[in-house]
């Protein structure tokens, strides 16, 4: 009975083969493979060819697990035992195909999962590296281009103030327009880079929403008129006047959409509507909507227009970087909102989004007044006729530009130092009223000099106002320059008004 069960259970899975010293088959029960007397195992499968040198000692055996054996179309996964018995070799073949196949499935799933994890981790590292490279490239590019751009813009401005004939005036006007476009493009590239890298932080401050909307209405009425279009603004009277949010970014979103609307509308009108959805607690939910009677957007492109560098129509005919709507989408996401649109070909497009803005705020009315008071103070408290300014800048073009901007007011004596290492000597020897300092100057950086000045033991030197000028617009850099002791930072390129406003603000 036991023999019967045993045969049933293992009968088809174990083969015994007796071999001579040369590896030729003497006997085989042929349970798994057909082996005839006199067959050479070496010829049967290459596994046995590699065993020639491995013959077990007397009464010893060697076990090989999980060996794949194939013969005459049959493939088994086996454990093999080779054993020396008297004057012969015994080979036992255990067919464990089913068992090993189950293990194979488990190993397959495990290995695939591990490989996938490794590849994903690697892909992430690669993406992060690419992102870092892109950020650094844009940062450097933006920084490097700002010096020549400042020179071009500023010298164009200076040029426009000289005696020009009509033709020259026209050319300077074209130059100014191109400069403005170039500057906008640069700002767009920087914005999209900062949004995508998560480095753009909203600055929430109180501001007058109605004033902002009126400014936009005024500006775009003129722009629309110039383009032969009508501009219709509907500003809800129930809107709160003062809100707290990032004014600059809201302005950026609205101007991007409005510019687009004008750009893609040949006839008809642009409607700009701002309506109060609801007020709850101290938050106002406001719907901003801009619609045009332009050419519309094909349905297939409704999604892709929010992708960077995408323009729906022929690029040769359109100006702009194709970054505008991508910036809008990114900025609104930062403000917990989502841009939405409906469009019909040759009928027009409607963009809209809702913003939750805080209102009213305890110090609401103070914001505007504060600025007004500040302007008055600036104008009224200048005590001297002439002030001594030190300009620390190594770029000759920028030196010329700043010199031209400041000398036009006839209020300054200006000294120029182009080597960071000479600044302290100059500051100690001459009592300056203000320093305008480039951040990247040879030998010692502008922020390091600011730190040295602030640490100086004598009053009159340690408290000289310092205005930094830089091509860097990253928040963390600007914060670091201010922490080093700079009173204000002016980004390049800058206009004459920006520079003068900052200078007068810090003069005593």
């Amino acid at each position: 009975m036991l023999e019967k069960y045993k045969t049933q259970f293992i009968g088809n899975s174990i083969q015994f083969v007796v071999l001579d010293e040369k590896g030729l088959v003497r006997e085989s029960d042929n349970t798994c493979f057909l082996l005839k007397t006199g067959d050479s195992l070496k010829e049967f499968h290459p596994f046995f060819e590699s065993l020639e040198a491995i013959v077990p000692e007397a009464n010893n055996e060697i076990t090989f697990n999980c060996i794949h054996l194939e013969s005459e179309g049959k493939e088994l996964i086996t454990d093999l035992v080779l054993r020396r018995e008297d004057n012969a070799l015994l080979l036992v073949i255990y067919d464990l195909t089913q068992h090993y196949n189950e293990y194979q499935s488990v190993a397959q799933a495990r290995n695939e999962s591990i490989i996938q994890e490794q590849l994903i981790a690697l892909k992430n590292i690669e993406l992060e590296e690419r992102e870092r490279f892109k950020d650094q490239f844009i940062r450097n590019f933006s920084h490097e281009i700002r010096n020549p751009l400042t020179s071009i813009m500023s010298l164009t401005q200076v040029l426009s103030q000289t005696d020009l004939n009509a033709e020259q005036e026209q050319m300077v006007q074209y130059l100014n327009q191109s400069n403005a476009q170039l500057r906008l493009l640069l700002e767009d590239i920087l914005s999209i880079s900062m949004i995508s890298s998560g480095k753009l932080q909203l600055v929430e401050k109180e501001f007058n929403l109605i004033k902002l909307l009126n400014l936009l209405t005024f500006t775009y009425t003129a722009k629309a008129k110039e383009a032969g279009l009508e501009f219709v603004a509907e500003i809800d009277e129930k809107l709160p006047q003062i809100v707290a949010s990032d004014r600059l970014r809201i302005y950026q979103v609205l101007t991007n959409i409005l510019d687009n609307a004008i750009k893609y509308t040949e006839t008809g009108q642009i409607e700009f509507s701002v309506q109060l959805n609801q007020k709850r607690a101290n938050k106002a939910n406001i719907r901003f909507e801009i619609s045009d009677t332009g050419r519309g957007i094909p349905e297939a492109q409704l999604e892709s227009i929010f992708t960077s560098f995408t323009q729906v129509y022929d690029k040769d005919k359109e100006q702009g970087s194709g970054l505008g709507l991508s910036i809008v989408k990114g900025l609104l996401r930062l403000m917990d909102s989502e841009i939405q649109l409906t469009s019909e070909l040759d009928q027009g497009t409607r963009f809209f989004f809702d913003l939750n803005l805080k209102y009213p705020l305890p110090s609401s009315q103070r914001t505007d007044k504060k600025d007004e008071v500040l302007d008055t103070v600036v104008r009224k408290t200048l005590k001297k006729d002439k002030y001594k300014l030190l300009l620390v800048e190594d770029d000759v073009m920028i030196q010329t530009v700043v010199f031209k901007f400041l000398s036009g007011t006839d209020r300054f004596f200006i000294e120029i130092v182009s080597d960071g290492a000479k600044v302290m000597e100059e500051v100690v020897n001459t009592q300056y009223d203000l320093i305008i300092m480039d951040i990247n100057i040879p030998n010692i950086s502008g922020d390091q000099i600011a730190r040295l000045i602030r640490d100086f033991p004598f009053k009159g030197i340690k408290d000289i106002p310092i205005i930094g000028v830089t091509g860097t617009l990253y928040d963390e850099d600007i914060a670091a320059y201010k922490a080093a002791g700079m009173n204000a930072i002016i980004p390049k390129p800058f206009a004459q008004e920006e520079l003068l406003k900052a200078v007068f603000r810090y003069l005593k």
Partner: protein, 163 residues
């Protein structure tokens, strides 16, 4: 003159050991990844310039990153080792020195070739930089998919075994 030599292919799983053998033995390739369990043994006879008829018995071992756990029975009678890594997965070569030390400890005197596989998936310049960074001196950079450098690697092993 006829010789028979046992060559082990070792390395982490998924590096392409089976594909390299398949390319060398039957000049074919499959993109499908099937995990090897245990060991597959195949054979290719190569005619060497020396006149030797070398029968290469190729042992394709189940991939593992724990080389010290490989069964001793698999290693017995080994004449040469080809250690394979995947150039797209640093995990397969970051500890190569430790892996080679284990191999040399277990299979003394056998020549060891180091082969980086899957070159068709990467830029050679990137691989060179990566290998330099990890201080890896590979003998061959292959692609089982395109066949690039595959025969060269196996024939180099054959030559070394014939010497």
């Amino acid at each position: 003159m006829q010789k028979s030599k046992k060559v082990l292919l070792l390395g982490h799983f998924g590096v392409g050991k089976t594909s390299l053998i398949r390319r060398f033995v039957s000049d074919s390739f499959s993109d499908a990844y099937k995990v090897t369990i245990g060991v597959h043994i195949t054979k290719k006879v190569v005619d060497l310039p020396s006149g030797t008829n070398l029968s290469m018995i190729l042992w394709d071992l189940e991939g593992t990153d724990e080389l010290h756990l490989i069964r001793n029975a698999y290693l017995m009678g080994t004449h040469g080792v080809i250690f394979v890594f995947d150039v797209t997965r640093p995990a397969t070569f970051q500890n190569i020195q430790r892996d080679l030390d284990i191999i040399k400890e277990k299979v003394k005197k056998a020549p060891v070739l180091i082969v980086g596989n899957k070159m068709d998936l990467v830029d050679p310049a990137d691989v060179k930089r990566l290998l330099d960074e990890n201080d890896i001196d590979s003998d061959y950079l292959t692609s089982a998919k395109t066949g690039d450098e595959v025969n060269e690697a196996f024939l180099e092993m054959a030559s070394q075994l014939d010497a």
